[in-house]
Amino acid sequence: MKLAFHSDTVKHSLSAHAAIGLLAGALLYLVCLSGTVLVLYEEWQRIEQPAAPEMDSIAPAAVQRAVEKVLASEAGETPTTHLYVHMPVAELPRATVTTDHQAVHVDADGDPVMPEENLWSEFLYALHYRLNLPTLVGITLVGALGALMVALALSGVLAHPRIFRDAFRLRARQTGGVALADWHNRLSVWSLPFSLAIAVTGAVIGLASISAYAMAQGRYGGDVERVYAPLFGEEPAEDPAPAPIPDVAAALDHMQANHPGISVTYAILHDPGTEGQHVQIVGAHPGRLIFGEYYAFDAQGNFRGTAGLADGALGQQAAASTYNLHFGNYGGLPVKLAYMIFGLALTAICATGTYIWLGKRRRRGHEEPRLLGAWHGVVWGAPAALVLTLLARALLGNEAPFTAIFWLAQLAAIAAGVLAAAPARGRTTATPSTSS
């Protein structure tokens, strides 16, 4: 049996594919490129601050000491609403305490040693997550790009009737646009499961804010937090009356005694120093896609239950799996390297798509050197701009204006591409192809 689509379907699919690709191509390219580099998020942080204290593990009593010391250092300031202790794990063997006011690395004894300095990694994260735009706008835009990637995958498969039959045919040394088209199509086919997983999870993460907002308008009376509560657990009621600092060590002792196979990644204190305070421990489960399970404790370190991310409703497990599946941190360095290779392929697919379209136009007699120059500026300018920010990190330090450097360099590269192009001749009279 031969599966074949009507020629009109193929033609319209190709038009749809091109329309979406050209609409979103540059931003998709930036998101794919930054995502590929961001796979090594933890490793970049280690490179940024090599002198930070590292350790295989930290004792519960040392964590308690770190929490008390950091909170004591903030006496007189507005009390922090949350305190996060990043626990040393294989990818990032550092203990770091983060509050609303500061982030400090602590040593194995729990003594604060130095402030955390990872602003380049944070810039990269913001570039991928929200294109350095304000959070809601940026994350929604990136989520929209994920949805468009789904549309690109669908239209790409339908637009190429021989896409599977030719899946191993890569005429890399053929001229006339053949090699470019082959690279685009072959990489697209074989990275399809990866692309769809990345696209869907990215779109879910990115569009969750507006989706949840819409859902909240009905049954939840506009309260967005109530949309997430069935998935990730509810926040207990606040009580601002002063109280002693919670017993984090007892909670961590409980984890060691009762869940020795679980790797604790975070200890989170909610409203520390108040009567309403409580402790959450995030435990990573080996061999699972979920980012972890929330283990809830009261201020005395008594275990209160789990949120159900590991063994609760399917929806909870699915929601908790989107992050790791998207970022590739579910199997150590080998999976990260695989994600980098496939991410690079996805980036190349974005780049070649527009080149293919420009090539077709050129072969039909439309020379567009400025447009081509601008696309060169996007494709080569973005990695160059990223390298420039990395150089700025090395030469100017943690406080360098990475966002401004990146976007100015990117714009300069596009401008240079346009200016370097031969003067536009407009529509030429080259012989149109007969196969169009």
Binding site: V200, L207, G315
Partner: protein
């Protein structure tokens, strides 16, 4: 984790074997339905074995092995490709007007608004309706909310594609309206 381990290598092997068989099948001068079926079956089997071994994690890991082998085969194809002159497809995609054609700016802006803004609104309507319907059908709140959060972006992606495939405005608007209809009963009864 231990009890799932024996199946996981099998899943990875099955995925890679599937890719290898498809390479064999698609390289032949004549179509081979048997080899095609075997290749796809092995790929499906890889997903099943991966799932049986370690759930979603196993499926993800097994698929990475299959994709990695495919990329290796592609690298080989690229390296062994003979140089030559070719002629790429020149199928027109009608994104920009040809010489003498009108620019149709208004039409293009309308298409953009229908696909992007209309598509998003219709997808949200579908997602909210799905959530309300799931709750009415007895699903847990967690499953219903997660289903909606996943449905919105997937629906938007599919809708963007469908809308762009439709040539007539009427068909596009009917598609958008059709996506909004499931929400109406819940809006009317207030059960959303």
């Amino acid at each position: 984790m231990g009890e799932g381990l024996p199946l996981l290598p099998l899943a990875a092997l099955s995925g890679m074997a599937g890719v290898a068989v498809l390479r064999l099948a698609w390289h032949r001068a004549r179509r081979s339905p048997g080899l095609n079926a075997l290749g796809w079956t092995l790929l499906v089997l890889a997903a099943i074995l991966g799932g049986a071994a370690q759930g979603a994690w196993g499926v993800a890991v097994a698929s990475l092995f299959a994709m990695a082998l495919a990329f290796l085969l592609l690298a080989f194809a690229a390296g062994s490709s003979p140089p030559g002159k070719g002629r790429a497809s020149n199928r027109r995609v009608a994104m920009l007007p040809e010489a003498g054609e009108p620019r149709r700016i208004g039409r293009r802006v309308a298409t953009f608004l229908i696909v992007v803004a209309g598509g998003l609104l219709a997808s949200i309507a579908l997602g909210v309706a799905l959530r309300a319907g799931a709750v009415a059908a007895g699903w847990s709140e967690a499953n219903a909310n997660a289903a909606a959060l996943f449905a919105v972006p997937i629906a938007w992606g599919v809708l963007a594609f469908v809308l762009l495939m439709q040539e007539r405005r009427r068909a596009q608007l009917l598609t958008l309206l059709g996506c909004a209809v499931p929400l109406l009963p819940f809006l009317i009864t207030g059960a959303w």
